[in-house]
Amino acid sequence: MKLTVNGTEHDLDVDPEMPLLWVLRDILGLTGTKYGCGIGQCGACTVHLGGRAVQSCQVAAGDVDAPVTTIEGLGTPAAPHPVQAAWIETQVAQCGYCQSGQIMAAAALLAEVPAPSQNQIDDALAGNLCRCGTYPRIRAAVRLAADKLREG
């Protein structure tokens, strides 16, 4: 099957039932997308599918019908996406394991709602569990990212 990930088209021989999460991690080696629950409860596997935030453990590889962007494709240490830059500046991460998913969810929100209210932020990231409890910093980072994006 053909799969476009972070702008690169891959021709893959994988079981169409395999969740996108495991195609990314085990087949393509894109390990920034994390496994946390496998049942769409924790959000650690959040990626963009055609620009929309989805939980990649809940999408079968065979059902992927749009380009995929993972945390590695969002930005890099040398050229971070404004959301990543805000995450760095706010020093959100503790263990960091959920943060790829948090960042992907936040980036999708801000692409759609440039100036979200606190309720919109809370709702958009409610599916992303953080066991370390970095929520206060997540909120602050999303607001900072919104400012950065508006300033261009």
């Binding site: 395999m18 020093q91 991460a93 370390c132 970095t134 929520y135």
Partner: protein, 746 residues
Amino acid sequence: MAGLGKIARRGFLVGAATVAGGFAIGIYSLRQPYVSPLADDLPPGMAALTPHVLIDRGGITLITPRADMGQGATSIQAALIAEELDVALDAVRTDPGPPAPAYYNARIVAEGLPFAATDEGWMAEAAREAGGWASKLMALQITGGSSTVPDAYDRLRHAGAAARAILVTAAARRLGVAEDTLTTGDGAVIAPDGTRLSYVELAPAAGRLLEPREVRLKDPAEWRLLGRPMRRIDIVAKSTGLQRYGIDQALPGMLFAAVRTNPRRGGGVVAMDASAAEAMKGVVRVVPLPGGAGVLADSTWRAFEAVRAIRFDWGPAPYPATTGALFESIAAALDEDARDSRLKDEGDIEAALADGADVEADYRVPFLAHAPLEPMTALAWFRNGQLEVRAGTQIPGFAAKTARRLSGLSRDGVLLRALPMGGSFGRRLEDDFIDQAVRLAWAAEGRPVKLTWSREEDMTHDFPRPAAIARGRGRVAEGRVAALDLSIAAPSVSESQMGRLGFNALGADTAIVAGAWDQPFAIPAYRVTGYRAAETVPVSSWRSVGASANGFFHESLLDELIHEAGADPLAERLRLCSHAPSARVLEAVGEMSGWGGALGPGRGRGLAFTLSFGVPCAEVVEVTATDRGIRIDRVFVAAEVGRVLDPVNFENQVQGGVVWGLSHAIWSELTYADGRPEQENFDTYPAMRLPACPEIVVRGLETTDTIRGIGEPPVPPAAPALANAIFAATGQRVRELPLAKSVRFA
């Protein structure tokens, strides 16, 4: 750093300077420094200047043996060394180093001793020192007990200062000038004429100058890094998806493994049929394991699918099979025969309660899973008579020992690389998953095997925080708390956990009463008794250990007594408080929260205080009873840690501890039916999400001389502060966790 793992462990004595500065211990056998594991066979140009500083042509590597599970241990250890070495944090690499006795944790045993942190008497000091010696002898390279900073604060600064001193000597000899004319900065020795000799170019000469010497540490006023906001060294990797955890390890030819074992721990396997799994696409092998089996496959997903297809006939649990029966076993321990400790017994409690009690209440807390978001995972690889293990672990020394025991290999035959963890909260103080990975790798000799537990395996095979039951009684008189008697029954974490590590936990288990018996209050009649319940479900340390339950018991009972007395929760605690730093913390949280100010209808404030891991920590929770249920509006936290080394990470840790405490207090429990946990994933083990998270305002106090760690102390007061706030807002007193069983939350 590829060379580090290959370095043998022959007797290359370095670190003598560190020893002179850091470990002047008054017993001869303990005065001998540990041999540095960074040993010989160093390639040309590489010098190991202390067990914590390694310099080669590629640059400077700081060895930070305490494991990072998210609490920032790697960064703060690096900062302690870098401060004295005079290097920039972004100009060094870090490496956890190999498991080695030189990296023992002197503080971990101290926290388990039967002396309150407020007790600075001779007996307590002597016992703390003995604890340090004991852990050195046992080579406990453990991360836990909020001990990283207290343990590292002097040791790692000395390690940095000693390495710097050696480099200065090397530079002085090369330049033919006196040492005291030289300064250092940004990884170089600087001569009076401005000549800069980089540490890297000085390293070969410095490596030949390892005589012991005294070193002077900087005065904190001279610090460039410590005490100021620092950028954690892992923050960019963790914001760009590049941080590689255990679960992300990948090697050529690697097999992906999953396991399933009996969720009734210790129940064993009666029969197993793996034929369906063996026939599945991508499956390489099914490997029987103690209590179950593992599957080796060509992807994690296929391994998960195949291991689910194995049909097991499990044996029954070797402990009571239901939550009800487990609690009965704990309740039965509230009996003189099971008395484990009575470390607090002041005044005459029997006389005070002879005519009955004004408050009598029973409390209980459930079993809890650790459930770090990265499930248990480990990579193992047998090849050419060598075993390599890579895993996130809080106990690398014990894990390596497990690998040696299973493989029969010698110390030099096993290489263990400790990796950053996607959370742990105490779970990775166990090495059961490393044991499994080694067995699977043995079966797949030649190929690396990465074992990943499914969330379901993780949730049903935790070593949980034990459930506990407390019985409280007390008297009030003339508007004051006059008597408090608290009896706590719980299974012993120390007995269960130390038993698995191969130790006998002798004597009373202070974890049963920690956070209750050692509180700094002078109540006229005051008694705390611990009762040891039988070991049923194997249990383990969970963020803040015994205090996680006992803070709730003690602070709920004290709050009930204060209410009965008609006193103010803050004023009465302050009146009773016998420890000045604790009183300052209470005063601070009172000021921060505007304690006493009007809140309006349907709103309430709750206060709780717990001294744990040497840290007095007070929290005020503000709630509103809305028509959709209780909403937590704000939390105020004050904690005394002696010195805040990194204000940003300090705040993050405290906020995280509060979220952890509140989240479990409201929603979480592991219940048992048919001998197994009923919760398998986050759909039935709910936790706090962003919408429920309150604003959390943090203040760190620095008014004492003793530096402390902050990973755990914010947890214990969170649950009682919330329960007390709910009482203040609604009049409903909840004595059982999780609160959501009795109270609706918005």
